[in-house]
């Protein structure tokens, strides 16, 4: 009896323990997950202990370091050397964001299958990252960094700081994502920092429409193509005003353009382009000179529009060391401050939409792909075998073929021109971090320009203001010197004559200092008007740049408060342009009562995408219906060729100027010829049908459905912050869309001592169990800001802040 008893008890007990220790049904081991000593409960931070005094001994700190941890969890690091400051930056950033840092760099390196195995979608993502050459690009970057020991020491120190944290981790300390996905962090290295920067490069320069534009041009013919896809719109307000003359660049040779697509056949081009980042990622920045401000000193503003996420892409920090005192946002995974200010200057960035990634067709000698044609000869392909580890399964192998141009990204044996290699500026050796380290300690305009001269990719519009009263903007990067139309379309990769021919000298990059208008501004629009002697193409937003120009021209007696209103402006030039055209095309057409009501509401609208208004919903629906009916011929061919639509600006100006253009004909109705008036008429009917009464119209914020998603996407949707009640539109300065928007808003008033405010729509902590996970969201939504304190010493801390004393463990 007692033996039976014992066998039963032991078996039950062992069975339970085994079951609780085994990952089941997508869950990590349940025993561990629920145990109060190591599971998710350990990630529930006691509210009273979120910010607390500490003393730490870290192995590689050389001097002593004091850190003021302010009540929002922003570290203010006071170190005896820049090296120690970066070391502690690494340690503290990892403490708040390690999972994010690893996840982003795993993603960049095409290693997500190691974490999420047996998932075809994830395999595909990984394969694409490998084919984009992200790992090779990062290796090239590290080699280049090693040449510059002063800055490499800082990058290495940052990496050592991260590793000091990783080594100190106990299982209970692991962030919740590790526990849920059941894996452990690996060591950090400068290579991972390089991967992060390549991840940013891809996010910001990884969008192009070369394939689509090529197919559209072949399909439409040159004349129609040029009408529908103009490179420049006349209402555009370029970053460098048209009044600036480029005469000083008269030594620029204009070489013959590359414009012939005769070598290509649409039926052999790929139909589907590779997945690309959101083309609408953009930003606003501007600086207003003292002549326009109440204080008489410049004010600088920046709000980068990136994916809205928890944890945020940004991590706030202050770094203080001899010769350096800087505050701003950093990228978790990279040392230094990316956007910020010090005691003398402030700077900010927006993306330059110039195309720095081009596609070249590859002609293989035979199916082995060991050789390809170049300048009439067969040249050897370089094979790089990529091993994608696959959690719980066999590794996946992919051979990436590297050519003269770069990696072959498109490969399709059925379509001969579907073999295309990518030439991408991010593959070239570069020193971006040197630029930021130098900006962190820059004292004046000359220092700023010197810092910028080291910068390559992703190209950014660097706005600048100094306490001595200078304002400036440089549309900066290392730009290939392209011939007319070069890189706008797919190019013939069998001839090196089609390659980039050198770079545009740094000094020739578009820039302006202290203009008469009293402000400089950028919002991803064209850096210059077409008179700039160098050719470039790309993806340039139109409306926000014009809105910034209008609002800043109209403002005088500028203060930080008025700048907040400009950053929060949800007034849209898109609506202001389109509504009058729609109404005039509608003319006095006979309308139903409901249609009249809708038209009335849109007519009386102030073009503000206010969260609580319903008119933006009506307008969006109306405009969308109109545009969809215009591009019906493009929609009809989307399964046989790669397509893209003309910009709304082009379509609306055509509707206004030539409403009988053939594009307004509906191809389905062969018995009649439609015009723009008829399409607008039909669009309002469709709108009225969708919204038969005002109750059926959602509020704008409900329609827009802004949410701040978790970086791990659907698997962590419970950690997302939603719904977000906010105003805004992609075409307004407050460019808040469903999943992206101002990821950091900053306003810096320069003067004897800088005064700054800012807000991130998330929080410092990446831990969903911390009150600092999302404490910025509500203020951000309301348009409130936090004070950003550039302390001069730790004694300036308030009672609510904590002090962390760090000394060397040696």
């Amino acid at each position: 009896m007692k033996y039976l008893n014992a066998i039963l008890a032991v078996c039950l007990c062992a069975g339970l323990l085994y079951a609780l220790n085994t990952p089941l049904a997508g869950l990590p081991p349940v025993g561990n997950l629920f145990s109060p000593n190591q599971g998710f409960w350990q990630n529930a931070v006691a509210i009273d202990d979120v910010i607390a005094d500490e003393s730490l001994s870290l192995i590689d700190v050389r001097g002593t370091v004091d850190v003021v941890m302010d009540e929002r969890g922003v570290p203010h690091i006071f170190a005896e050397s820049a090296r120690d400051a970066c070391y502690v930056q690494g340690y503290l950033t990892a403490r708040d964001r390690l999972w994010q840092m690893e996840f982003q760099t795993h993603y960049a390196a095409g290693r997500l299958s190691e974490l999420i195995g047996q998932n075809p979608q994830v395999h595909r993502l990984d394969k694409i990252q490998r084919r984009l050459g992200m790992t090779k690009a990062a290796e090239v970057a590290v080699k280049e960094w090693e040449q510059n020991s002063e800055y490499f020491d800082l990058i290495q120190a940052y990496s050592d700081g991260i590793n000091a944290y990783i080594e100190s981790l106990s299982p209970a300390d692991l962030s919740i994502e590790y526990k849920l996905m059941n894996y452990k962090p690996e060591k950090w290295s400068p290579y991972k920092t390089a991967l992060l920067l390549k991840y940013m490069s891809h996010m910001l320069t990884g969008y192009d429409s070369d394939l689509e534009l090529t197919a559209m041009r072949k399909w439409l013919g040159d004349e129609r193509f040029n009408l529908l896809f103009p490179e420049y719109f006349s209402k555009q307000k370029p970053i460098i005003p048209s009044t600036v003359s480029w005469d000083s660049l008269d030594d620029v040779e204009s070489s013959e353009g590359i414009n012939d697509l005769g070598f290509l056949d649409n039926t052999t081009l790929p139909i589907q382009s590779i997945p690309m980042p959101n083309k609408n990622y953009g930003s606003n920045n501007w600086a207003v000179s003292g002549s326009k401000t109440v204080s008489g000193k410049p004010i600088l503003c920046n709000d980068p529009h990136l994916g809205l996420s928890v944890p945020s892409i940004w991590y706030e920090i202050q770094l203080n060391a001899p010769g350096m005192n800087v505050y701003g946002v950093s990228l978790p995974g990279a040392p230094g401050v990316i956007i910020g200010f010090n005691e003398d200057i402030a700077w900010g960035v927006t993306n330059v939409g110039r195309d720095v990634r081009d596609w070249y067709t590859i002609e293989w000698k035979d199916e082995t792909k060991q050789q390809y044609k170049l300048d009439g000869k067969w040249v050897d392909t370089e094979f790089r075998i990529e091993t994608i580890k696959n959690r719980g399964g066999e590794p996946i192998l992919d051979t990436v073929k590297w050519t003269y141009w770069g990696p072959v990204v498109y490969e399709n044996p059925q379509r001969s021109n579907a073999n295309m290699a990518m030439k991408w500026a991010a593959h070239r050796p570069s020193q971006e971090l040197a630029t930021f380290f130098k900006l962190n300690v820059a004292k004046n305009y000359d220092d700023y320009v010197e810092a910028l001269s080291h910068y390559s990719c992703p190209p950014q519009n660097f706005v600048f203001a100094s306490k001595t009263g200078d304002i400036a903007i440089w549309s900066n990067g290392r730009f290939p010197n392209k011939r007319d139309q070069q890189g706008r379309f797919i190019q013939d990769g069998t001839s090196t004559a089609n390659d980039w021919q050198g770079d545009i000298p740094f000094e020739h990059n578009p820039h302006i200092k202290n203009p008469e208008s009293g402000f400089v501004a950028s919002a991803n629009q064209h850096p210059t008007d077409p008179s700039y002697p160098y050719y470039y193409s790309g993806s340039f937003a139109d409306y926000r740049g014009r809105a910034a120009h209008k609002l800043l021209s109209e403002s005088d007696r500028v203060t930080a408060e008025t700048m907040k209103q400009v950053q929060m402006s949800s007034w849209s030039f898109k609506a202001a342009d389109e509504v009058p055209i729609l109404l005039s095309l509608l003319g006095d057409a006979e309308l139903s009562d409901r249609e009249k009501e809708i038209v009335n509401q849109i007519q009386n609208w102030d073009y503000v995408f206010d969260q609580d208004s319903k008119v933006p919903v009506l307008y969006s629906e109306f405009s969308k219906n109109f545009v969809y009916s215009i591009v019906d011929e493009i929609l009809a061919v989307k399964d046989s060729i790669s397509t893209t639509w003309p910009d709304n600006v082009a379509l609306y100006s055509l509707a206004a100027n030539n409403p009988t253009d053939q594009i307004f004909d509906i191809i389905e109705t062969t018995d009649k010829v439609e015009n723009a008036q008829m399409l607008v008429r039909a669009a309002i009917t469709k709108t009225a049908k969708k919204y038969p009464d005002d109750h059926s119209i959602p509020l704008w914020w409900e329609e827009k459905e802004t949410e701040i998603g978790h970086l791990g996407d659907d698997a962590f949707s419970a950690f997302a912050i939603k719904p977000i009640k906010s105003s805004g539109h992609g075409s307004a300065l407050n460019a808040t869309k469903n999943s992206w928007g101002p990821s950091w808003r900053m306003i810096v008033e320069l003067g004897d001592y800088p005064k700054a405010v800012g807000v991130v729509p998330a929080g410092q902590s990446g831990n969903p169990g911390s009150p600092l996970y999302n404490n910025g969201v509500d203020p951000w939504t309301r348009g409130d800001y936090f004070d950003l304190n550039l302390f001069q010493s730790i004694d300036q801390r308030s009672e609510k802040d904590a002090l962390i004393k760090i000394n060397s463990a040696r």
Partner: protein, 121 residues
């Protein structure tokens, strides 16, 4: 008396071991205590169960309150159980079962060596 003593000892040993060992430290605590104290099988199970319940339930309740329920709310959403307090109940029951079965196993092994089984006491 052994009954209450074993509850207290399991909790104390469980707390001590939890600093060094993973979640199954609770199983060791219950096993060892019931092995040493040697009481009736059902009492061993029940005492261990109650100890696990109090230990894991109390600890998670304490953490949850100090955290203002931020984490439990998000995790409940994550796991799909709706309300945060349900996670405390799940944690309690898991703690109870882990300790209960381990305590019973400890008792039953001890029984094998005992001259007189607790059944006959």
């Amino acid at each position: 008396m052994k009954f209450y003593l074993s509850i207290i000892l399991i909790i104390l040993l469980g707390v001590g071991l939890s600093f060094f060992l993973p979640w199954w430290s609770l199983a060791i605590a219950a096993f060892v205590v019931e092995f040493l104290l040697h009481q009736h099988a059902f009492k061993a199970f029940l005492a261990s169960f109650i100890a696990g319940l109090i230990f894991w339930g109390g600890w998670s309740f304490w953490i949850d309150s100090a955290n203002s329920y931020i984490m439990s709310t998000r995790m409940a959403d994550m796991i799909g159980v709706g309300e945060g307090y349900l996670l405390i109940i799940i944690t309690m029951i898991l703690g109870g079962l882990i300790a209960g079965l381990s305590g019973w196993a400890g008792q039953s092994i001890r029984n094998l060596f005992a001259k007189t089984s607790t059944e006959e006491e």
